[in-house]
């Protein structure tokens, strides 16, 4: 019998991988903690060494961090990959999302976009990342009940204890972690159709919660594991998500739940790294 609760990311991070284990890392790069931070250096190496990206990043938004990003990506750089570089050149999706409020700052835009989803029009003028969620934390997010209906209440939807001390808005995965603390919260995820409470948008404001169904053993955990899998595809270095995925997959009884991590280092979801089966070239082997 495996003890799923004891699975941890006992990891020496891979070369070039800085683990965003504290809020200060997020603060340093001015992002909201989606876990991309730890990949920057690694991605840079990939870019320099023959780059999948330099010719494709304008389309995919997957560009190199730092100055390389600006040089090679120009206006094609998506907010997600701006890293610590000056974001002034990064425009596309961020500006569109932020409705011209944040044309000069991708990083703020990224946070703003998130906050806007929660805050409605609470803080359209100043920096969302620094103002909106701080406001919510000051209003009690750190210690008390989450504001359920953010659009109406003008406060952020920070769940209890979810606001980091620096006032950055909580990342989805922290919400997920919060949801996964107790078993009934995992069941809530499958009933609502999403693990991430920020993505729960019931039609016409009606709750789609299917309370009546009886779940089978492991079903809620399997759903949570699948949600985390989708999340890890685009956030391969998010340590909390990695650990939660392992726990959920383990509890759901799924085999090989730890097989998709770098050898000896569970710090990166590497399922998307290897060539895809339709890409193998037998003639080269």
């Amino acid at each position: 019998m495996r003890n799923c609760d004891t699975i941890t990311c006992a990891v020496t991070p891979g070369a070039g991988c800085v683990v965003p284990s504290t809020a200060s890392v997020f603060q340093a790069v001015g992002k909201t903690g989606f876990g991309e931070n730890c990949c920057q250096q690694e991605e840079a190496q990939r870019c320099l060494g023959g780059c999948l990206r330099s010719n494709t990043c304008q389309k995919t938004g997957w560009c190199c961090p730092g100055n390389a990003a600006q040089a090679s990506c120009g206006n094609g750089c998506a907010a997600e990959t701006c890293g610590s570089a000056s974001p002034s050149n990064c425009g596309c999706e961020t500006n569109a999302n932020c409705q011209n409020s944040w044309a000069n700052s991708c990083q703020k835009c990224k946070g703003c976009n998130q906050n806007n989803g929660n805050c409605g029009n609470a803080n359209p003028a100043a920096s969302c990342a620094s103002a909106c969620c701080k406001l919510a934390c000051a209003a009690g997010c750190q210690s008390s009940v989450p504001a359920v209906n953010c659009a109406a209440s003008t406060t952020c939807g920070c769940a209890a204890g979810q606001c980091s001390s620096n006032g950055n808005p909580p990342a989805m995965v922290y919400e997920a972690e919060h949801q996964l603390c107790k078993m009934h919260q995992i069941e809530e995820a499958i009933r609502k159709g999403t693990l991430f409470s920020q993505l729960y948008m019931p039609m016409n404001g009606e709750c789609a919660d299917a309370c009546g169904a009886t779940l089978c053993d492991g079903q809620a955990e399997a759903f949570a594991a699948w949600e985390l899998r989708l999340y890890l595809n685009t956030h391969p270095c998010d340590q909390q998500a990695l650990q939660l995925f392992q726990q959920m997959a383990c509890k759901a009884g799924e085999p090989n739940y730890a097989s998709s991590f770098v050898e000896g280092c569970q710090s990166r979801w590497n399922w998307t790294d290897a060539p895809w089966p339709w890409e193998f070239n037998c003639a080269c082997e």
Binding site: K59, W226, T234, W276
Partner: protein, 140 residues
Amino acid sequence: MFVYEKKLQYPVRITRPDPRMATAIISQYGGPDGEMAASLRYLSQRFSMNDPKVKGLLTDIGVEELGHLEIVGAMVYQLTRGMCESDLKKGGFDAYFTDHTLGVYPQSAAGHPFTTAYIGVKGDPITDLHEDLAAEGARL
């Protein structure tokens, strides 16, 4: 390759037949924006997608749509289980029954058989992702 797990992603337990509901829900199975179209759309688009992250997403979402397909199929099956003849006619299910009896056939609510003309696979990442947005928007 694929491995089947003998369970639904979400349980379906319908105890009362409702053929009229079945004629609507069948569209989510094999209609223009149904799960069959969704799964084939993503699983086909991923071959020419150029970003590994998006390849992974299309693969995983396409597989999940297959799971949804099974859920919807189970709904149609259970909605038409144990009907009597008068249920068929009252529920407007007699036309479907004529062609498929109680089989779960991929078709739209209007009875059009499933066709891959519902989906787009163009080999260009932006074009395909736009198609995905349109398809997901239709299902919201």
